[in-house]
């Protein structure tokens, strides 16, 4: 029994070495994963930017309407429809609708379409998160700001919003991490993203193990790095709490 263990582990490592060679090194196949990662990060970064801008606008409209039902009735209705539709359909279906129905022709290329689709999708969820953040800020803050003579807009921008963001930073971080992984369906419209890269290697080599696990590992590393960055940001924002 003791003699077979080194033999077994040796053959495992040699099988692993063969697989690594065939799936990653032969014909520079690791490049499918590298360029896929580049595309995934590109889509994620710009979709996040669009999502934040869109989400903030929608959240502000919704809170303004909530505070004073007479104001912003039409914008609020538009935002409600936007939130319901986007949160009520799967992101893959939205992506395909955006790609095959809305953006007809090649005016915007496939990566641009994906950025738009994921950005709009993310915006809906970010809007709700920011809105809950704004509502969680004590009403006393708004009252204090107004009674000091600041306008509604200045109070919101300088007093309420920063506190809201600090409160919901974990939830927004969560949303960004989800977005990174949601982009894995971009392969459905022909984008060579990270998941598709592993997929291509899998269909060339017929080996599921290394391509799938390598793809998963790359996502994992990116998410861990993102989480570390986010907790650093949270810690800095919390410094002022203990003054």
């Amino acid at each position: 029994m003791n003699f077979t263990f080194p033999a077994v582990s040796m053959s495992f490592f040699s099988v692993l070495k063969d697989q690594i060679y065939e799936c990653l090194i032969k014909e520079n196949r690791y490049m499918y994963i590298v360029t896929g990662l580049g595309n995934t990060l590109l889509i994620t970064v710009f979709a996040v930017l669009i999502g934040v801008v869109l989400g903030t606008l929608v959240a502000l409209v919704k809170t303004a309407h909530q505070n004073d039902p007479k104001k912003m009735r039409v914008p609020n209705a538009i935002c409600s429809v936007y939130l319901t539709v986007i949160r009520g359909t799967p992101v893959l279906v939205q992506l395909m609708i955006m790609y095959y129905i809305i953006i007809v022709g090649t005016a915007i290329n496939d990566i641009g379409t994906a950025i738009l689709a994921f950005g709009i999708n993310s915006g809906a969820y970010v809007a709700e998160v920011i809105r809950s953040g704004i509502m969680s800020v004590d009403r006393g803050q708004t009252e204090a700001g107004r009674s000091l003579g600041l306008s509604q807009r200045t109070t919101m921008v300088k007093i309420v919003f920063p506190q809201a963001v600090k409160n919901v930073l974990p939830a927004i971080g969560n949303e960004f991490i989800s977005l990174l992984k949601e982009t894995s369906v971009a392969g459905y419209i022909g984008i060579q993203d990270l998941t598709k890269g592993g997929d291509v290697i899998r269909s060339i080599t017929y080996q599921p193990y290394l391509p799938l696990l390598a793809t998963a590992a790359v996502y994992l590393v990116i998410v861990i790095a993102l989480s570390a960055l986010l907790s650093k940001a949270e810690r800095r924002m919390r410094r002022s709490d203990y003054r």
Binding site: T35, G36, V53, T106, I191, Q192, V200
Partner: protein, 269 residues
């Protein structure tokens, strides 16, 4: 006021970045030389013609060394040369190809696509350039020996292909399991989740060659089919250009040379 202006400026700047990103994207989805950054090109602009395909169908289109190559790609390059444009290749799922044409994402589709009446309703076909058949792949040592044995068995097909149509029509009680790509069907055949795979004959040879000790191809041919290049419905100009190219290639032996080039690559693997 200054802060508001700065905020607005920042938002506008961010939204300006989106089209820039769209242009300067890592472009492995189009272009025959993937693996390098490049600029995405619209097929209507100056010197590009776009072809959509499903690059998982040896020897007609497949990925090797980071590029998409194959019989269809070679033919497409000839068409592009005739038009005086550069070829851009898009790799999508096979069943998305009709949508690619209708939505104008490509100029033509060359994907080992068989002419069928249903497909003719949604796209126009060129002359055929290859005669094919649907073949059956089974695991080595399987009890399935021919067409008749398929009844009641679990069959795998690639979604949207004529193999899919054939099995759905003929085995209504046991509809086939549909996969996004042939390779997935073969993997399931090897892991015994399905009993047989029905897929195009020429590519079946390649699938079997890559997994020779686990699967085998039966000699029965289920259908007789003809591959052609598809264009958007009504694009008669492009169809006649493609037909012209195909006719030249057939008469000067170039088409046979290309097919045999990949055939020997098939057999030497």
């Amino acid at each position: 006021m200054k802060k508001v202006k700065m905020f607005l400026a920042a938002t506008l700047a961010v939204s300006m970045l989106v089209p820039m990103a769209a242009c300067a994207s890592f472009d492995t989805s189009s272009g025959t030389a993937s693996g390098t950054t490049g600029t995405a090109a619209a097929s209507t602009a100056g010197g590009n013609v776009t072809m959509s395909t499903n690059a998982e169908f040896e020897p007609f289109e497949y990925k090797a060394n980071g590029k998409i190559v194959g019989i269809d790609v070679d033919i497409a390059n000839k068409v592009a040369a005739k038009l005086g444009k550069t070829l851009q290749v898009r790799d999508v799922a096979f069943d998305s190809l009709p949508a690619e044409l209708t939505a104008g994402k490509c100029d033509f589709v060359a994907a080992g696509m068989t002419i069928t009446d249903d497909r003719k309703k949604n796209m126009d076909f060129s002359d055929s350039y290859f005669d094919a058949a649907q073949a059956i792949i089974v695991a080595k040592g399987s009890t399935i020996k021919g067409k008749a044995d398929l009844k009641g068995k679990k069959i795998g097909v690639q979604q949207g292909t004529t193999g899919d149509d054939y099995c759905t029509k003929n085995y209504k009680d046991t509809p086939p399991k549909r996969y996004n790509k042939g390779a997935d069907a073969i993997s399931d055949l090897i892991s015994k989740r399905i009993d047989a795979v029905v897929i195009d004959d020429y590519s079946a040879q390649k699938f079997v060659a890559k997994n020779a000790n686990q699967v085998q191809k039966l000699s029965d041919a289920l259908t007789v089919e003809h591959y052609a290049i598809a264009v958007k419905k009504g694009n008669t100009q492009l169809v006649s250009t493609i037909n012209g190219v195909l006719k030249d290639m057939k008469s000067n032996g170039e088409l046979d040379k290309i097919i045999n080039k990949y055939k020997s690559a098939l057999e030497s693997d």
